[in-house]
Amino acid sequence: MEKNRLSEFLIEKGLFITAIFSIVIILLIVSFILVEGIPAFENYGFFHFLFGMEWGPSRGQFGVLAMIIGSIYVTLLSLLMAVPLSLLCAIFMAEVAPNNIRKILKPVIETLSGIPSVVYGFFGLIVLVPLVRTYFGGTGFSLFTASLILTVMVLPTIITISQDSLRAVPQEYREASFGLGATNWQTIRHVIFPAALPGIITAIILGMGRAVGETLAVIMVAGNVVQIPGSIFDPIRPLTANIALEMGYATGLHYNALFGTAIVLFLIIGLLLLVANYIQYKYKVDIGGGYL
């Protein structure tokens, strides 16, 4: 009996430790970034840093506004292209496609998410950049090129998760809808899609997270020019690219400023998550006791 109680105790505590492990890691990372980044805000001024237009570490200028705008633009533009594409694809796979087509599509889309980002970046540099330059002018390194790459990169995330949530809609919903004489499309449009909406929004949030945070592929095609783009064919430098580009050499205040950039990125992602969670909460569908 005594022995059993001890092992019971150890297992319980062991599970508890593994469960809080990820939280501890996140807290450690956040506190590390804060400790390294706050000196930049103290020395340069938080709002000066946030709304400064000039980034020139060698001249002591650390303004990240152009990069914040770059990050937001590239994320929005890629979502604008990725969301309709992936939702239609998910609906097709979940509701329309016959089983054998689904069996081919699913592994193909999963492979897409397994490709390393450097490969996407290199593909973009060798194939997309010359194409964009030929057809749209400029240097080919642009907001648009980066968004194209990101679109392909977030597709699998959004497709897979929204497809799962579409398929999780109870079969009774479909039967009831068909029973009322609705067509397949009407059922999808008015019954299944609204019921799966919270899951679909989660899918879009995760896709958005990937787009904001993606670094390597973006560095290779965005052109990394610190400026507010005048058109979608102008080069940009997102926040992540700024950190990765200069971290190798940075010392002193420059080093702190790069961590400051990371804090700003953190705030943006936090803000986006808040907004997305609010939308999810607002559109949740109640069924019986719980909601989907």
């Binding site: 092992s7 330059r133 080069p235 430098r237 050499y249």
Partner: protein, 271 residues
């Protein structure tokens, strides 16, 4: 039984952890710290790697930070060897012994299809500062010039700025920034209107190297100083080197080190 298993697992983990700590400690080998220029870094790493093959009982840590960090850490003794990829000012030299490994050329790279094959230093300055924006103004076809530069902090950018741009002229702010020599080469390779600069050591056949002021970048022209876009790779030691540091530097400056430097395309100056 369960408890026993758990105790065994904990014990095994503890043993592994202790072993890892002991092994990572590495015993009592002496250490040489090499700190400084990010351009010298890969060469220094290569030298350290080869040196360790024949001299087992030594550890060489190579770190970046930039030439100014290299000079400073050699002066205050935080590094055994400081590295620099630019000439030292007279006041920086006090108390330091310089060992020049050789010269590295900065090569101006354009697309192979580009008709231009020679530019003067003045023309380069005008192009990179944005005063000249069309290839036809420097003898090429009627096409806009696409500038490719490196990220802030890069040793190659630093050298290019100090040699070509001078103190008061900045590189045009909307030049495309690429994060490595390889990325600059790829950008130039796929864009017929692009121009960029790379280290001579990493130059390849896939892009065209421009002559500067009529002189092409080759081993002899860099060695005798007629090719202007070049910089020294320097090892700095506080006072005179002794012990392990002296042994390493002697080896680097000797036959074996010279061979490796030649493989890395660091050209011995004959000036």
């Amino acid at each position: 039984m369960n408890t026993k298993n758990i105790i065994i697992i904990v014990a095994v983990i503890a043993v592994i952890a202790i072993l890892a700590l002991v092994l990572a400690g590495g015993g009592g080998a002496s250490t040489i710290n090499v700190v400084g220029s990010t351009s010298v870094q890969p060469v220094a790493e290569k030298l350290a790697e080869e040196y360790k093959k024949t001299h087992g009982d030594i550890r060489i840590n190579v770190q970046g930070g930039g030439s100014s960090v290299g000079i400073k850490s050699a002066q205050d003794g935080t590094a055994d060897i400081g590295t620099s990829s630019k000439d030292l000012k007279p006041e920086e030299k006090t108390g330091l012994t310089e060992h020049v490994l050789g010269m590295d050329g900065i090569v101006i790279a354009v697309n192979s299809a580009n008709g231009v094959s020679d530019l003067s230093k003045e023309q380069l300055k005008d192009i990179f500062s944005g005063k000249v924006t069309n290839w036809k103004d420097v003898g090429g076809s009627d096409a806009p010039i696409h500038l490719v530069t490196r990220e802030e902090g890069s040793g190659t950018l630093d050298a290019f700025e100090s040699i070509v741009m001078g103190k008061d002229t900045k590189i045009k702010s909307d030049a495309i920034v690429q994060s490595s020599t390889e990325a600059v080469k790829q950008s130039v390779k796929q864009d017929p209107d692009a121009i960029g600069f790379v280290s001579y050591a990493h130059m390849g056949d896939d892009v065209k190297a421009l002559s500067v002021g009529g002189i092409a970048p080759t081993d002899p022209t860099i060695a005798d100083g007629t090719y202007e876009l070049q910089r020294p790779f320097i090892f700095l030691v506080k006072g005179t080197p002794t012990g392990d540091v002296k042994a390493f530097i002697d080896w680097v400056m000797g036959a074996e080190g010279t061979k490796i430097l030649a493989e890395e395309k660091i050209v011995k100056s004959t000036k």
